[in-house]
């Protein structure tokens, strides 16, 4: 009886210890982190709001995190910087207001921490999300046609729609128009930019 009880207590102790050590101590140590104020008075980071915040929900519900990271490894550890995935490593402060852990563990696709800076074209993202093989031949990223409606009449192409390149056109498909979710998602991608110079990331 007593010995079993000791085992119970012992095992509880081990897990409480690791939770405290790995999670609660860093939480307490970095409680005071504040957004950084640049010389031009910009505060970074800012919590996302409006369409970009809704776009993050779409990013979460479509599971982009299973193929994409959002973290840049430091100089000398991998080739993240040389690949142009960022101009500096990412640090704790970059994630101050993240409501979910989207740092990711898999790079079937490239890192997206700075995709807004790297690929600022809305039309590119529309085409790529609609069918990645339009912009990136050989890509195994899944198409997301359900984020778009397709129109066939080029002369009535609405504002915000992206024309399909000639070789991808069919009689019924001349342009694609993002749904509201599609628009939010692209807004979110365009907002991803961690290039503000932070002192701790030098």
């Amino acid at each position: 009886m007593n010995k079993s009880l000791l085992v119970y207590l012992g095992v509880l102790f081990t897990v409480v210890a690791s939770l405290s050590g790995l999670v609660l101590v860093p939480d307490w140590q970095f409680r005071g982190i504040q957004p950084y104020e640049t010389e031009d008075g910009i505060r970074y980071p800012q919590p996302l709001a409006g369409s970009t915040a809704l776009g993050r929900e779409v990013y979460i519900d479509l599971g982009c995190v299973y193929c994409h990271t959002q973290q840049v490894r430091p100089e000398g550890f991998g080739a993240d910087l040389d690949r142009g995935w960022g101009n500096r490593r990412t640090v704790m402060r970059d994630y101050l207001f993240e409501p979910r852990n989207l740092t990711g563990t898999m790079r079937t696709g490239p890192d997206l921490a700075n995709i807004g800076a790297r690929q600022p074209s809305r039309d590119w993202h529309n085409l790529h999300l609609y069918n990645p093989r339009i912009t990136s031949p050989g890509s195994n990223m899944p198409p997301h046609p359900f984020l778009f409606t397709v129109g066939g009449d080029e002369s009535r192409r609405p504002l915000g729609a992206t024309p399909l390149p000639a070789e991808w056109r069919t009689p019924g498909a001349a342009y694609i128009l993002p749904t509201s979710r599609g628009r939010h998602l692209v807004d979110y991608l365009l907002s991803l930019n961690k290039s503000v110079a932070l002192p701790e990331a030098q």
Partner: protein
Amino acid sequence: MGASTANPLPAPREQADLATRAQIDRSCRQTVSIYYASAVFWLLVGSLLALVASLKMHLPGFLSGWEWLTFGRVRPAHLNTVIYGWASMAGVGTLLWLQARLSRVRLPLPLLLPVTGLIWNAGVVYGTAAILMGYGTSTEWLEFPVPALAFFGFCLAVIIYASLLMMMRRKVHHTYVSQWYLYGAILWFPFLYVAGLFLTQAPNVNGTVRAISNWWFAHNVLGLWLTPIGLASAYYFIPKVTGRPVHSYHLSLLGFWTLALFYNWAGTHHLIGGPIPAWVVTVGIVGSMMMFVPVITVAINHHMTMVGQFHFLRTSPTLRFVVFGAMSYTAVSVQGSLTALRSWNEITHFTHYTIAHAHLGVYAFYSMLAFGAMYYILPRVLRSEWSSAPLIKLHFWSCGAGIALYFLALTWAGIEQGRMMNNPDVPFLRIVAYTLPWLASRSVAGVLMTLGHAAFALLVWRIFRDAGKSLPGPTLLTPARLWPDWRRLWSRAGRKTS
């Protein structure tokens, strides 16, 4: 066991023993049946989702028009059905049966425990549907939305209570090593789940702390929930089937407490190079290195118990699966520790290598052990026999070959992927093109494993159909039943096939 085989009529004491065991097995029947049958159901669902996800990786146009089947939803649906449906439900069944047997008491709460099996299923249905409909959390290993806690929290509370009741009522005063692991598992997992869910989903948690909690949790689900149940089974079934005691009590003790102390701390090696404090990463690496102690200890202990007994692998399905699992445990743990080394992690992190590693753990180690346990336990609680030795063989070889191909293909692809990724002159799409054939061979592996699961499901279906039929007396009263029976079954099958 050997003695009882030579003896046509067991001694009275022995007979009473056997009757007690049969009663205990009987008391487990409903609960274990519900948990095991559901586990097998989720294994099939999980395999199907895995196949869809795997095919999508090299045939991205496959079923791409349906949002609910997009890769980013099918993949977490696969992970969560196999972890919370298959692995956890099989684990609960094994845990309860083992604890009842080892404490020599009947399984308590005969009404409530089977009901938890139903509620657990409802939780998995709810969570999986939520993921497919887009309500998943995208927090790896915790994708079920927060309300899932209501389902699992209730079930786990009841299971803890049952476990404590058995501990207090137990008739055996020696605490066998399997028991320690079971006590650990049943307390660790609920704690992990509540703390992990809270820290990753609650508002006002710093994003970095979320990332750390995420990997503290995800790593520990394997390490402090599935691993202890798997090791408890290995510690139970290897001596049970071979009839030899565990090699060393002291090694068992050392192995358990070092696992309990070190595994906890290893999870942050998933964040090497990430935006977390350097010391947290270092702690994770040190924890991973220290894991060599319990792993080598357990490996020696199991190996020394098996020495001279390997011929049982030919006859006992339980032992085959269990030994396959136990050996994979050593392999996956050594690999895990090495992967935590910075220089190796720099290459393999973010690649298919990690996926291969995860399957070596959850599949080659844990799932094979779970199959082994079910092969032993189900005939005893249902009082019937497995219907076909060839099907068991098909199950073993199909899954064994499948996971081997899976592991080798993705490990290789992952290493190359990582090396190419770390060379900025290689265009990204070249890396994608390089991995495609390996991803296709992973689908082949998946088909093999699914075939094995189908064979197993058929066997399970039949043993449920035959429940109570072929074993009129208490489980072990016919002495010939324990292993000579297997031998006859196997040699008959051998003659048929060869």
